[in-house]
Amino acid sequence: MTAPGGELLVFAVLTPVLGILLSFARGGRAAEAITLALAPVGLVLAGFVAWLVAWSGAPLVYEIGGLAPPLGIALRADGASATMMVVTALIVPAAAFYAREKFATPQGGESRSALTFWIMLQAIWAALNLVFLGSDLFNLYVALELLTFAAVPLVCIDGRPETLAAALRYLLFALFGSISYLLGVALLYGGYGTLDIVLLGQKIEGTPLVWTAAALMTAGLLAKTALFPLHIWLPPAHANAPAAASAVLSGLVVKGSFFLALRLWFYVLPGLPIAAPAALLGALGGCAALFGSILALRQARLKLLVAYSTVAQIGYLFLMFPLAAAPAGGALGWSGGFMQVLAHAFAKAAMFLSAGVLAEALGHDRIAQFGGAARALPLTFLTLGLGGLSLMGLPPSGGFEAKWFLLRACAASGQWIWAVPILGGGLLAGGYVFRILAPALGDGEVKVKASPRRSQELVALGLVVIALALAFAPENFFEFIRIGRPLAGGGAS
């Protein structure tokens, strides 16, 4: 079953793992150098995997140790995973490049925050690649744990008590999520004797065991993805982390557990009638989109506002469940949901990096005191504004493209109810983006403590440009994302 080039999948995971081991053993400055040196390798690997998948039009599979599932473990790259790998390979190096000054290692020594940051950043990369490639539910549990152990220390890297409390709350939610997921895995093994996603997808039936397992796994993944009402850990955690870490956490890490929820419902359970649970997930997503936006409107600090906006944007992602599961317009829903994942990843990473530049330059991030800041930091506010454009869903942006697809899916499947959060959330997003920009574009004189670093501003701008450029994604890009996705009722498209 192993296809030529399948080794690349293992290497995509092993490369950052090797980086972690070397960085930890060597210590000191080596951690940064190794991270930056391996970043292009990771990008090339991701690009090559994507090319192989596109070229063959079929998923790329590698059976580790030459041992086929169910006894062995396989890695499997389909269109969706290859896309996510490329996104990760763009955003993680951008965050790394951005963070070079803040996490520079002192001459001839080793610092706590620098070593932690560089190693954990590589760990997030390794974990995400495994999340996207894993084809065995227990292997994916290990990936989720890697992700948790990498993300939590990043939240409290500056050591203030409120960051420690945020990290602890995050850890407890994440642990609850992992153990709940693992319980579902145990039940599925008890029912079918395999944890391979493809094999399970062929055998699965709508028994109480399967529904209980699905409910437990989904609950765990929702806690990790911070879907309303399990979102309370996210804003303090993402707002308190250093900007480069926030960008990765908000842009990528929450998408990891979301991706597994997609895997579970659309790859493991595709043959089952999932309309009712999908509608429930959609309803939670709709609530999150509205509720998160309203809370974002009320925040006094920019980073908290951006973090609450993540809560809202995660809500849109879950509209994918009812829309992509519908027999009519399912493909539109799938494309729209995926576009939302990509657009949000780039836009949110750019906005967090900009918020970091801003906080560094002004010495604070209180929105009320932004008066006239746009004149002092034009590039940063341009990035914030363009990112906001995508969050609102105005053209030309990936966010607009995503909402356009989702609305067309609503129309095609007759589920007009989901148009309410899509449009309402967009309006509210307009409100909170306006709240950032209005004072900054208005009168006033801000004191700039330190002039912003041009390189950091450009990194953020580059990411937001990608978020906008997604609007011009060609039709065959959406076909690529669908490679290897089982259709409801069996068969692959």
Partner: protein, 111 residues
């Protein structure tokens, strides 16, 4: 009732007890204890799955048992990280509460 069914019921009870403690107990160290109870309940479910899978001359299916061994080590690592956070939090602030209200100071900004 076979031992494995009994152990499965014990596992279910442990998960329930732990979940209750995890939600209702405000002290983070007690939450951690409760999390470990949930964990061992989940491992017991793996255990009965393994025992039921006795076949081909094995008294158990080795795959779930191996997963439990991996899981126990990961759960311990998680406990250690949580303990480190709790102790540091208590030392730095004199508080070990997770109540978000204890940590938000209105109007507070900056990095």
């Amino acid at each position: 009732m076979t031992p494995s069914v009994l152990a499965g019921l014990v596992g279910a009870a442990l998960v329930g007890l732990g979940l209750y403690g995890l939600i209702s107990n405000p002290h983070p160290l007690r939450k951690l204890l409760a999390f470990n109870l949930v964990g061992s309940g989940v491992f017991l479910v793996f255990g009965i799955v393994a025992r039921r899978g006795a076949a081909a001359g094995f008294a158990f299916d080795p795959v779930p048992q191996a997963m439990v061994i991996t899981g126990i080590v990961v759960a311990f690592a998680a406990s250690a990280l949580a303990v480190a956070l709790i102790l540091r939090l208590a030392a730095a602030s004199g508080k070990v509460t997770l109540d978000p209200r204890a940590w938000t100071k209105p109007g507070e900004g900056g990095q």
